[in-house]
């Protein structure tokens, strides 16, 4: 079959909403786009363990400590499924990690903000996991089979995280005056970065068109952002917290909220490496990787020895 024919088959499959599997022929750009997107997603899970892991040792009750530890462990599991999905596209985990540590691959810019108080753990679960779900629900139907299947499992756990985060915020918002202030402060700091998680506005999003065409993505950045604002406003309202946006108001004609513009200059600067925690995050990952090198070497050497004995 020539490339033309293969490409036609591929397009036809997409048109029939059939999933693309690792052994199927796929255009090179489709493969590249997927590797970029899945690995970026995997790296986000792993780097995302840092700002939250930061509070495990300080969680204010035994129950909260266990819930947070389990959550961060889930995120590690998400990273694992996603690396495995990416590996089906003929790239190794070592290469992927190398891309992260050398800055060649990106991760969600939200994790370059610091988690400063316990309320940040609530805000991250509620808003960041919440925004992640909004982005990811459609990925359960994404065209690439292994990615879609990983996302089904991940989405289930993310909704659990989101409820737990919101529950933390609810308890704080109904707690002492100091706790309520802590919750509002965390919301103020995480709100805009959460809106940025949907990516730049559609007219400035270079990858959106292809992603929609290939049915990797099924809704645009702006559509998702709007949905997120509509969903989050009443949640904040019900627990007596205020979204920090003076332009926020209900727009009857569009059946949704009008809202202000995130600071895109800050967004692009964080992507360029200038966020408050970019260096700390990458150096923490690099340190873990380097200090673990002798362990991985030992495990490999041991496995080789065992193989030799069996042979």
């Amino acid at each position: 079959m020539d490339t033309n024919q293969l490409e036609q088959n591929f397009d036809a499959k997409l048109a029939r909403n059939e999933s693309i599997e690792p052994k199927d022929w796929m255009p090179d750009n489709y493969r590249k786009h997927l590797i970029r997107q899945i690995s970026q997603h995997a790296h986000s899970e792993i780097v995302g363990m840092l700002p939250e892991g930061n509070w495990i040792t300080r969680a204010p009750s035994l129950r909260r400590k266990m819930v947070l530890l389990a959550k961060v462990q889930d995120e590690g599991g998400h990273g694992l499924y996603l690396y495995s999905a990416a590996e089906t596209l003929n790239i190794s985990r070592e290469e992927l990690i190398d891309q992260l540590l050398t800055g060649k691959a990106k991760y969600s810019s939200i994790f370059n903000y610091p988690s400063l108080t316990w309320a940040d753990i609530g805000a991250i679960g509620w808003l960041v996991d919440g925004a992640a779900i909004m982005n990811q629900v459609m990925l359960q139907r994404t065209s690439y089979g292994p990615y879609a299947r990983a996302m089904v499992r991940i989405c289930k756990e993310e909704s659990f995280h989101q409820r737990q985060g919101y529950e933390i915020m609810t308890v704080l918002a109904k707690g002492t005056a100091e706790q309520k202030a802590m919750a509002q402060d965390a919301l103020n700091r995480w709100w805009w970065p959460s809106l940025m998680m949907f990516g730049p506005p559609d007219e400035k999003s270079p990858n959106t068109a292809n992603a929609i065409k290939w049915k990797i993505k099924r809704e645009t950045n702006d559509e998702l952002r709007q949905k997120f604002v509509n969903q989050t406003f009443p949640q904040a309202d019900i627990i007596g917290l205020k979204l920090p946006d003076p332009d926020l108001k209900w727009n009857e004609s569009k059946g949704g909220f009008d809202f202000g513009t995130p600071n895109w200059e800050e967004f692009y600067n964080i992507i360029a490496g200038n966020g408050p925690c970019n260096k700390a995050r990458i150096s923490a990952r690099t340190k873990a990787h380097n200090e673990g090198a002798w362990v991985r070497e030992a495990a490999n050497a041991y496995a080789e020895k065992k193989k030799a004995v069996l042979a």
Partner: protein, 251 residues
Amino acid sequence: MKNEGLFNYLLRLADTNLILGHRLSEWCGHAPYLEEDIAMANIALDMIGQANALFQYAAKTEAKGRTEDDLAYMRNEREFVNTLLSEQPNGDFAMTIVRQFLSDVFDFHFYESLKSSKDEMLSALAVKGHKEVTYHLRHTTAWMERLGDGTEESHSRLQKALNELWCYTDDLFELNEGDKRLVKEGIAVDPASIQNAWIKTVDDVLAKAKLVKPAGVWQQKGSREGIHSEHLGFLLAEMQHLHRAYPQAQW
């Protein structure tokens, strides 16, 4: 207090689980493998879960209106009675594995024996603990063998960790007067009764891992009476500060 002996015995078990679980949780996000991040978080969760259940039972036994969180967050350095081994810093991965292995072997035999405690609650917690520690021990044993018989570097790191931590092993077996009474009543485990089993399991694994068992090491003790290494104070400061900073708050 009528049940003071049992209360204090429960604290010994709860504190050790909490402190070691805390140490393991410090690895989360920083382990040599992603799989290991997950495995260590899992073990930490089991241990903190066990601590939580033990603290609840201790609070009930004490019957003074304190909760599991009061016991974990509102007691000071000298009131904690966790083992010296459990509070030692993570060090490198070899240090963490040796610390966990020595402790897992103890818990494995300890829970096995505690299953037949005349105290129903303790016996039930022992059944759960034994099931969990069986997995933990399998995990740490595999790492002992891998690192011990891996590369020259891993072998020497593991041997060094073993030499450094060996001085805390007798402390695992300490008991106080209250514990002795509970042993007589068939409620507590006499640590001396599991010492041979502990030695045998440890020896077997050290042999497979090609490690030399340290000999003639002066043993540090005192944790059963709340005498600790300097590390515990810092650990508690970190663990308790938020809870104590807002005494009126519910979380």
